[in-house]
Symmetry: C2
Subunit: 207 residues, 2 copies
DNA sequence: TCCGCTCTTGACCAAGTGATCAAGAATTAA
DNA sequence: TTAATTCTTGATCACTTGGTCAAGAGCGGA
């Protein structure tokens, strides 16, 4: 039983090369978008020949979907950590901090998603309407509870979450604009974290 | 004097067709990005043959730059209206309202810029570092003055402006995600306006 | 009407791109 | 060692796409 015919084991070379490919694909897709990226670029980026790359992923779109799925989970992780038992203001502040640091440390993943959604989210539309909506609705309910208890200023939870997403990811997605305006000072992200935290905390603290 | 040799007058047909082209180009470039868009699509979109379109704009990039420049001014207009003589909180609230309505009424322009900046802002980098930075610095100084007078909560003016940009444009740029999470209810933009205004106003009101 | 200029287009080209294939090289399990 | 399997690649194809060109159609002023 447990024979290798029904469950084709993944070879060492397979695992290794697929990882190389996904890494190079993130690089290229995040920089040029799906249509702008070429299979050749990805192949060169990971040191494989083009036919060899297409041996692991038969179509360009398969690579794209794989790299999207590969990073989706991590990207949503901080929101999952929003704890209904915690102090509301602290929880929100922690979420903002985590999210902006994720943007700083992994701007390519941010740009990959931004580009995908900007052009209609055709590859991850189902994910957005399914798991993502579920998670957001669940966390929105928590926030709504906090508001009902008078522990947060009354704002729409969904739009609050959108606002946090938008402001934090802005620094990855619109980096050239940010740099053009404030220069590429090394403390940009620190100032951003400080400003956003203050803005949201003060905006949400009940009076 | 004023002869037509040094200043080649623009023909009626020229003006008319260039307008058609720019309109179709906004449509196509905002949907597919620069590399994803094809000259054929734009030509079909405005009912011209491809060679005819290239008679007015010799290269694809010329169309792209033209449509960017054509919409850049309008996009920055609301910020210009920030009045140093006004009531700070009201001025900020009005800016947010104007900006989110602009996003609602012209999402394509928003997505055009988002895509351009997302991919490095190679076509408008100079504009960002020049006129845009100048305008933002000027308005940031106004906000800084308000803070110094104790009329606004102390936050970094540049990052405040980024936050307003990010949150308002989010609804145009990430429309599929917004729709996936909250559905395409007709009052999404109203709720958004309300939430953002409240969040920023409460966050900025001095205590 | 006539003439010069603007406008329009079918045919075409070169480059780039996603994808295929057959054949050989390397790896692995026995 | 050996045989089956996995991995690799040069050559090639079909198709798309930005851009050209020459020739003709349309327009406006004298």
């Amino acid at each position: 039983m447990g024979d290798a015919k029904t469950i084709p084991r993944k070879t060492r070379i397979q695992a290794q090369n697929e990882e190389l490919i996904l890494k190079a694909a993130l690089e290229v897709f995040s920089a040029y978008g799906f249509r702008g990226a070429t299979v050749d670029q990805i192949a060169t980026g990971c040191g494989l020949s083009k036919p060899n790359l297409l041996y692991y992923f038969r179509r360009k779109e398969d690579i794209y979907v794989a790299v999207l799925e590969h990073t989706l989970h991590d990207w949503l992780e901080p929101l999952r950590g929003l704890d209904p038992a915690g102090e509301p203001i602290d929880e929100i502040a922690r979420y903002i901090r985590t999210k902006i640091r994720l943007s700083r440390d992994n701007p390519k993943a941010s740009r990959l998603f931004a580009n995908e959604i900007l052009h209609g989210a055709t590859a991850i539309g189902a994910y957005l309407k399914g798991p993502l909506k579920e998670l957001v609705d669940q966390k929105a309910a928590i926030i709504r509870g906090w508001i009902a208890d008078g522990r947060l200023n009354a704002v729409d939870p969904h739009h609050l979450i959108f606002a946090i997403w938008a402001t934090t990811q802005h620094y990855a997605d619109f980096e050239p604009q940010v740099n053009a305006v404030v220069g590429s000072a090394p403390d940009v992200m620190l100032k951003a974290e400080e400003t956003l935290t203050k803005l949201f905390v003060e905006g949400l603290r009940p009076r």
